[in-house]
């Protein structure tokens, strides 16, 4: 196990394990944290996993961990690693099984206070009408051709089918679709696994949440994002479901032999990878992008259904109710981006596993209405505390490959959380705080607020370290778990 004294403190919130810590490291390993969060990270094997990530071929500058880092499999969750496209590798384990797990935030034109008396009805309607897909499929069945279109077009497929608007696409990372996707790289088995799960939420930490904006830190940026104090907002958190899990499992299996073929030595078998510029690497990139597109289409459908449900309940009571997409971001993905490495612009594959892209003001890929202020960064918290809207910075480009944190980060295993408090008790406590909760007991127990790190502390670190800036804080009024 690594100890705190092995770190060099480079800045108040930045710590480094030097490259000479272990002979197989190719670059240093860095973590953004305060003292308490670093000590929390040292309680499990997440730092060791970060060091392992710093050993991958072609990794540039440093492997970076966010303050919400926790132990995963292969690389840690909350880890970022960039590999040179010329001599580096791409690794399915550094993306994760839930490819393009991500989150979207919607703004309403109504005050949260107006919704508070209706929360029971709203959450019951959402729970009844937004399919969780746990143990059963959703209500959309995809034909073979539809599936190929979902995989290659992502959210644009959903919008073309009538599930949403063109404006929704403008407000998604990558406009809700990666062009690198090839349906032919996704196996028949993966397609079968995904064929009846599109538009379903899934289990674990996935949720639909109605929240309230309780604090605005940066009025101008909040206005640009259409956010105001006291506003009701909607969050949707989901990913690529069984299709993404199947793609990752299959490529972790397939690349076991690529590692032998290309003579790559690994400290952990779950880090299997292939050169970016190899048939195996290109095939994984095309399949991973397909699964990412499935996830974007999935969140688009979930959002569309949730909007319909909210309209049905609210339209008879309020005039011209609207829920518009602020932004949608991925937090488990690998993408080709360009950064300056050793003084020259270099194309790298940035793996973000439990980390969010954080582009600053002026970036040409941002939608026009946000380009001046920067990219909205969405950081959902646990069921009982808070979530944050941040904005990307140009400092993050240099510091963390334009990445920041993605959530609170688990601190307690699901088993320990369930042992500590039963689902019924979790729900009773949340309802005593005024939060309406719908979901299976076991899921509620596993996702209880005490299983997570303190989100305020995590966000404070990325704000002070310059990886993103605080714009607004939101608290949950109603949560639906899958």
């Amino acid at each position: 196990m690594v100890s705190k004294k092995e770190f060099k403190r480079l800045e108040e919130y930045l710590w480094e394990i030097p490259q000479d810590h272990r002979s197989d490291m190719r670059v240093p390993a860095r973590i953004y944290a305060d003292d308490a969060l670093l000590e929390a990270a040292l309680q499990d094997r997440s730092i060791e996993q970060l060091i392992n990530t710093a050993c991958l071929p072609g990794v540039v500058k440093y492997a970076v961990a966010m303050p919400d880092i926790h132990q995963g499999y292969g690389p840690p969750i909350g880890g970022v690693a960039a590999m040179d496209v010329k001599d580096g590798v791409i690794s399915p384990g550094a993306v994760g099984y839930d490819i393009n797990c991500g989150v979207r935030l919607l703004r309403s034109n109504i005050e949260a206070d107006q919704l508070k008396p209706l929360m029971d009805e709203l959450m019951a309607s959402l729970y009844n009408q937004v399919p969780s897909g746990v143990g059963k499929g959703g209500d959309i069945r995809l034909s073979g051709r539809d599936m190929d279109n979902v995989l290659e077009k992502g959210s644009a497929w959903a919008v073309a089918e009538g599930y949403g608007t063109k404006d929704d696409l403008e407000h998604c990372e990558e406009r809700g679709g990666l062009a690198a996707a090839k349906a032919s790289a996704v196996s028949t088995k993966a397609k079968k696994r995904g064929s009846n799960q599109l538009g379903t939420l899934g289990a674990g930490n996935h949720f639909v949440e109605i929240g309230e904006v309780v604090e605005v830190y940066d009025q101008d940026t909040a206005e640009q994002f259409g956010i105001f104090l006291g506003q009701a907002v909607l969050w949707v958190h989901s990913g690529s479901r069984g299709l993404g899990h199947q793609v990752c499992s299959e490529y972790v299996r397939k690349l076991q032999s690529a590692v032998v073929k290309y003579g790559i030595r690994l400290p952990d078998r779950e880090l299997v990878c292939a050169p970016v510029d190899s048939p195996e690497g290109r095939e994984y990139m095309a399949a991973m992008a397909g699964a990412a597109n499935y996830a974007w289409a999935n969140r688009q459908l979930l959002m569309h259904r949730a909007r319909q449900v909210l309209q049905e309940v609210l339209a008879p009571r309020f005039k011209n109710i609207s829920f518009e997409l602020v932004y949608d971001i991925a937090h488990n993905i690998a993408k080709v981006e360009e950064f300056v490495i050793n003084g020259s612009p270099t194309k790298v594959v940035v793996h973000r596993k439990g980390a969010t892209r954080s582009f600053g003001p002026g970036n040409p890929v941002l939608p026009e209405d946000y380009r001046e202020v920067g990219q909205p960064v969405l950081v959902p918290g646990d069921m009982g505390t808070a979530s944050y809207l941040l904005v990307g910075t140009n400092e993050a480009t240099e510091k963390s490959f334009a990445s920041t944190c993605h959530g609170a980060g688990r601190v307690m295993s699901r088993r320990a959380a369930t042992r500590k408090m039963r689902g019924e008790e979790v729900r009773r406590r949340l309802e005593a705080q005024g939060i309406t909760v719908r979901g299976p007991w076991k899921g509620l127990a596993e996702e209880a607020p005490h299983a997570y790190k303190d989100i305020d502390r995590v966000v404070n670190v990325v704000h002070k370290a310059g990886l993103a800036r605080k714009v607004a804080r939101m608290v949950p009024l109603g949560v639906m778990k899958g």
Binding site: H70, G93, V134, G135, C248, S249, R269, E270, R414
Partner: protein, 135 residues
């Protein structure tokens, strides 16, 4: 024979330690242990029979591929399994007959069995494996 296994603490995921008097029993116990985390398997009817065949490059990859193939069947067929007979087991191939029933209610979704910290060791009384699942 009751499958023997225990759950270990792992921050993000689910980790199981599984025991078997021989490798065949270890593989069967691992499958039972996994499904017991997903659904109520005690007293499950055995109305469905499926034949499963997977390949691997070594014992570890066979175990991961076997568990992931069962997760695939569970999700695509909407079934849960609780009886596993390993018919063939070599260094690169496993064939089994599994029994179960249509899925009524499940507790959670297991995304995959992973290679992370995966171990299969010979112990005094047989074999012991540790498998980390992404949930």
């Amino acid at each position: 024979m009751t499958p023997r296994f225990e759950q270990l603490d792992h921050t993000a995921d689910l980790a199981l330690r599984i025991y078997g008097r021989d490798l065949r029993e270890l593989f069967a116990s691992a499958a039972y242990a996994m499904f017991s985390q997903l659904a109520e398997v005690a007293g499950l009817d055995h109305t469905i029979e499926r034949i499963v065949r997977v390949r691997g490059t070594d014992c570890e990859s066979l175990l991961v591929n076997w568990l992931n193939e069962l997760l695939y069947l569970h999700e695509t067929e909407g079934e849960v399994y609780s009886a596993f007979r390993i018919d063939e087991l070599s260094s690169d191939c496993l064939a089994a007959t599994v029994h179960g029933a249509p899925c009524e209610e499940i507790y959670t979704i297991i995304k995959a069995a992973t290679y992370h910290n995966l171990t299969i060791d010979k112990s005094g009384e047989g074999f012991v494996a540790t498998v980390v699942f992404d949930v």
